[in-house]
C-alpha cells in the first residue's frame, strides 16, 4: 500500500530563494495493492511532480510518502517508471534498452538477456530486438519503455502520461495491451493522464486534482467490470463518470482563465 500524508512541494524561484511556486499542497491519499489508480487534472496541477516524488526522483518539503509503511527516500527496486517521452537511449537497440534497469542493478548478463527477450514477446516486438529507437514508431518506442519498466519486475508501476505523445489509434491499442498485461502480472499502477476517456477506461479509481497548488479534489470509484474492452466505453457508467470529470475539469479551467 502506498500512503501519502500531508505531502507538499514548493519549487523555489530562479535565484533558489524568494517566493516559489507551491506545486502540491498537503495531499492525502492511499493506493491499495494491485490497484490501478489514474490521476487527472488540468495542466499545472502538479501530477507529474507527484509521480516523481513517489518515484523518489525529487525531494519534497512536507508530509510523508510511505510504501508498505517504509518512508520513500529515493528510487527503489519496488518501483519502475514509464516516461512521457519514452526516455530511450538512442544509441542502444531494443534489447539493450529493455535490459537497462536489470543491467544497472547488477543482474548477470545471461539472465537479463533472457528476461529482455521474454518482455520483447510480452509487448509484441519480436523481430525488432536489434533495431534502434529511431527506427521504431512512437507506439513501439513506448512499448519498449513499458517493457523496460516491467523487466525489473516492480510491484509498483509509475506511468507519467505514457501515451500522451501518441496518436489516437495507437493510444487505444496500447491501453488495451497495458490492461491485458496488468490483468496477468497484477501490479499497483499509478497512471497520470490528461485524457478523461483514458482515466476512466483504465482506472479502478480516478483521482481528480485541482491546479496551482495541486490538491486532491475527489477520488472517484470506477465500478466497471474487468476485463475491459470496446464494450466498456458503450456503458452508461463509463459515459456518466466521463461527463462528471468533464464538468469538474471545465469549471477548474474556467476559473483558471478568469484568474489569468
Amino acid at each position: 500500500m502506498i500512503q501519502i500524508r500531508g505531502l507538499s512541494k514548493e519549487f523555489l524561484g530562479r535565484d533558489g530563494e524568494g517566493t516559489g511556486v507551491l506545486a502540491i499542497d498537503s495531499l492525502n491519499f492511499e493506493v491499495r495493492d494491485n490497484e490501478f489508480l489514474t490521476i487527472i487534472g488540468p495542466s499545472g496541477c502538479g501530477k507529474t511532480t507527484l509521480l516523481r516524488i513517489i518515484a523518489g526522483l525529487i525531494p519534497f518539503d512536507d508530509g510523508e510518502v510511505r510504501i508498505d509503511d517504509k518512508p520513500v527516500t529515493g528510487p527503489g527496486s519496488d518501483r519502475a517508471v514509464v516516461f512521457q517521452n519514452f526516455a530511450l537511449m538512442p544509441w542502444a537497440n531494443v534489447l539493450t534498452n529493455i535490459a537497462f534497469g536489470l543491467e544497472i542493478r547488477g543482474t548477470p548478463k545471461a539472465e537479463y538477456e533472457d528476461t529482455a527477450r521474454r518482455l520483447v514477446r510480452l509487448v509484441g516486438l519480436e523481430g525488432f530486438e536489434r533495431r534502434l529507437p529511431k527506427e521504431l514508431s512512437g507506439g513501439m518506442q513506448q512499448r519498449v519503455g513499458l517493457a523496460r519498466a516491467l523487466a525489473v519486475n516492480p510491484r509498483i508501476l509509475l506511468m507519467d502520461e505514457p501515451f500522451g505523445a501518441l496518436d489516437e489509434q495507437t493510444r487505444r491499442l496500447l491501453q488495451e495491451q497495458l490492461l491485458r498485461i496488468w490483468e496477468k502480472e497484477r501490479k499497483t499502477v499509478i497512471f497520470i493522464t490528461h485524457s478523461m476517456e483514458e482515466a476512466v477506461f483504465l482506472g479502478d479509481r480516478v483521482m481528480l486534482m485541482t491546479p496551482r497548488p495541486g490538491r486532491v479534489k475527489e477520488i472517484i470509484d470506477v465500478p466497471l467490470k474487468r476485463p475491459r474492452g470496446q464494450e466498456t466505453e458503450k456503458s452508461t457508467t463509463f459515459t456518466e463518470i466521463k461527463e462528471y470529470l468533464w464538468e469538474n475539469l471545465r469549471s477548474m479551467q474556467v476559473l483558471d482563465q478568469r484568474e489569468a
Binding site: 523518489g56 526522483l57 519502475a80 516516461f83 526516455a87 538512442p90 544509441w91 543491467e103 544497472i104 542493478r105
Partner: protein, 268 residues
Amino acid sequence: MAKVAIEAGKVGALRVHATRRRPLRGALLEVVALGGGVILWEVLGWVLAMPWLPPFSKIVAALIQFIQSGVILVNVASSLEGLAIGFGISLIVGLFVGALMGRYRRVEKALDIYVNALLISPAMIFAPIFFAIFGLSGAVRIAVIIMYSVFVIIMNTATAIRTVDPALVEMASSFGANERQIFLRILLPASLPLIFAGIRLGMGRAVKGMINGEMLIAMVGLGALAQRYGSQFEASKVFAIALVVLIIGVVMNWLVEILDHRFTSWAD
C-alpha cells in the same frame, strides 16, 4: 562559446559532406577537381615563370628527391612523434576537464573564463614562456601542440555532457543508477557525437600547432625543414613539404572520422 558553436557547425557540414561523398559521382567530381587544380597549377607555373610559383611537376620532383634521400622520413617521424605525444595529452586532459566542467556547475563556473580566453588567444603568444620553462627541448613543441588543441576539446566535451537530455539521466536514476553508472552508461555515450566533433577540431589545430611550433621555436621536424628552405627561397621544396603536411592533416582527420563513425553512427 559562439566561436566553438560556429566551428562545430563547420564540422557538422563536413560530416554531411562525408556521407554524401560516398556515391561514385561525388568521388568522380572530387578527382576531377583535384586533377583540374594540378593542371592549372602546372600551366600557371610555366606561363608565369615566377620564382614563388614553381610548376607542380617540379614540386613532385622535389618531393621524390626528399623521399629518396631519406630526409623526409626522418622529419615526418620526428613531427609525428611530437604530434602523438602532444595530441595524446590534449585528448586525455581535454576529455577529463571537459567532463568535469560539463557535469559539475561549480567546476564550470570556475574554469569557463580561462578556457574561453585561452581558446581565443593565439597560442604562439605563450611561446617565450614555454621557452623559459622547458628550455630548448622537445617539450616546448609539445606544449605548443597542447596549447593549440586542448581547449577546443575541453569546450566541446563540456558542452556535450551538459546538453545530454536530462530525461535520460532521470530515467537512469529511477532504476537506481549511481553516479559512475550514469556517467558511463548515459552521459558518455550520449555525448560522443559532439565530443568527436571537438576531437576532430582539436586534431586539425594540433597539426597547425605542430608546424608552427617546429618552425618558430623548436627547429625540428617538417616545420624546421620548411623554415630552412623558406629562408633559402627554395619554393619547390617548401611546397613539397607543405604537401606532406597537408597529407598528414588529411590522414589524421580521416582516422578520427573512422573512429567517429564506428562509435556514433546511431546519431546520423
